[in-house]
Symmetry: C2
């Protein structure tokens, strides 16, 4: 395995809101038959915020990652916020996460947001691996913290029951070991740009001129068109990705996909020769947590020993836009 940019993952952390929402709660609220959600959407339960903010969840996840890495906040050289949702239009997410640490006032590392919607974490990991080629960076924190629950439409059960809230953080560091980036690619397919959208809240339909309306201000997904677009593009994306990589997909130790949907995960399994053993699937317990899904699944895999020192790991996901991002790396904590 040929490492193009070396890094180690020194620490990982995650945070889920306290409130667990069961299918029975949603099925009763939306007048759906019992068992409908698990059967059709594949989610059993998801967490939703009550008082938690994007900033608070991000801070909790990062604090946990710092503890895991045995690092203080002042040893971080850059914080990348890699999320689609936010507490405030401005300042940027990462600045608020940093500020929420009591010790932050005396520490001046830069805070940068990066956003490719659901694959923001992959983009951030590639970016961080580039920053680490510069001598001024030793440790970089990446935090994905997402609240989907305010932007869901109760008239669209396919998305209302699919999404969850949560946050994950990882700290990547200049590696002394053999871990690091093996291959990264991202592509944006514009024919599918409008298949997933939140129309209200920005300048196109500003709250000043467009009062709140559940349909306008909620996540909208043209599920069938999106799935067709993914079927048209994902197999070629993965084929091309592994043509350019020096190990084939079948030799990858662990696949950590975006927990996009039941059908999305099924499509990935079929591209993996029907093998699901090495694909991390947490959809049933967490739902789709937007950009936090991939790092949440990565953090679990490291914590529960599914991803081990020296293993290869393939992060892959589709995102609104429509962007597909893939990143293959060799895991090392050292």
């Amino acid at each position: 395995m040929n490492i193009s940019r070396s890094f180690s993952i020194k620490g990982v952390g995650k945070y889920f809101p306290k409130k667990k929402v069961l299918n029975s709660d949603i099925e009763e609220k939306l007048n759906l038959p019992e068992g409908y959600i698990l059967k059709n959407i594949g989610v059993q339960s998801r967490r939703q915020v009550t008082t938690e903010s994007n900033t608070f969840m991000g801070q909790q996840a990062l604090r946990s990652a710092l503890n895991d890495a045995n690092l203080n906040l002042e040893e971080i050289d850059c914080l990348i916020g890699a999320s689609a949702t936010f507490d405030y239009v401005l300042p940027n997410r990462s600045c608020l996460i940093k500020e929420s640490f009591p010790e932050a006032k005396k520490i001046d590392f830069p805070c940068i947001d990066i956003n490719t919607v659901c694959t923001s974490f992959i983009t951030a990991l590639d970016y961080a691996s580039l920053l680490l080629t510069d001598p001024k960076y030793q440790n970089i924190a990446i935090v994905s913290s997402e609240i989907s629950s305010h932007g869901l439409n109760s008239k669209e059960p396919e998305s209302y029951a699919l999404f969850g809230d949560g946050a994950a953080a990882i700290i990547i560091s200049k590696g002394k070991s053999t871990g690091g980036l093996l291959h990264y690619t991202a592509k944006t397919y514009s024919e599918a740009a409008q298949y997933t959208i939140i129309q209200g809240g920005g300048n196109a339909n500003h709250p000043k001129h467009f009062p709140y309306d559940e349909g306008l201000y909620s996540f909208k997904m043209m599920g069938h068109k999106l799935l067709k677009a993914a079927k048209r593009t994902l197999p070629f994306f993965i084929e091309d990705f592994f043509k350019e990589s020096d190990i084939p997909l079948r030799d990858v130790n662990l696949i950590v996909p975006h927990q996009a949907s039941k059908l999305g995960l099924r499509m990935l399994a079929s591209l993996n020769q029907g093998n699901t053993d090495n694909i991390v699937d947490e959809l049933s317990t967490s739902g789709n947590c937007i950009a936090a899904s991939i790092p949440l699944a990565l953090v679990s895999s490291i914590k529960n020993g599914r991803l081990n020192e020296g293993d290869s790991c393939f992060l892959i996901g589709t995102a609104a836009g429509m962007t597909i991002s893939g990143l293959l790396f060799k895991y090392s904590k050292k």
Copy 2:
């Protein structure tokens, strides 16, 4: 001059909305004495959108930059959207700008948003220069497109009359010449994190629970506290920056600052030994265009011959968060 990452600026473009808003319009609306705005805020006129969107303005600026570079859209390898405001909560800004080109459907380069609020363009330029170290990138487009006008509070003339709308785009390419990055630094000072904020519209005060209210949904600036924080940090930031750079500030050919405010530009001039000759000041005709201000001023400087082949150029700005970003580069179009 020691180039750490080489690049050329192959093309530049900009777009301003058609509607020009004069001080007399605002002074009448807000019941301010004639001449108040120019005297206190330093702006004579600014552009504001009527039907234009962030996406449309970004597309116009990028089309113009492509023409300037004599490149087609398909020759771009990555589009970085570097803005604070947006048309939609999702998908990300850059995906929508790409999609707005009729020829985009057959082109699959990735679209990534980066956000450090007003200094997003500086962060994006550093990022793009890192991406160009990877053989798969030849030409990278950076687009900053901002609509401030929907988020201004008519009860706060200091910001209401300060901001403008506009977009700028540049294309940076693997350089054959001696142009490129000389030095880059960014720092986030968390004590000032909440001095500039838009409180409504995100998850903290979601439109679902907080109906539109001009105060809540508009830009809020604690001007005096912010200025004090800038006075405490900016002189040291610039001093440290040039200690680490191999040319001193006095030898820089052109300084392109964020058009933050009259007082901000005055502070910079005093740090430049009182010299304003080599500082680009477009505040009076454009206002503060958030992240578009720096690239707009850079584009003008290239177009009107103030920045010439081989010149050194220092981009510097403060941003909500509070982040200060500085980037010194040697300009080359080749």
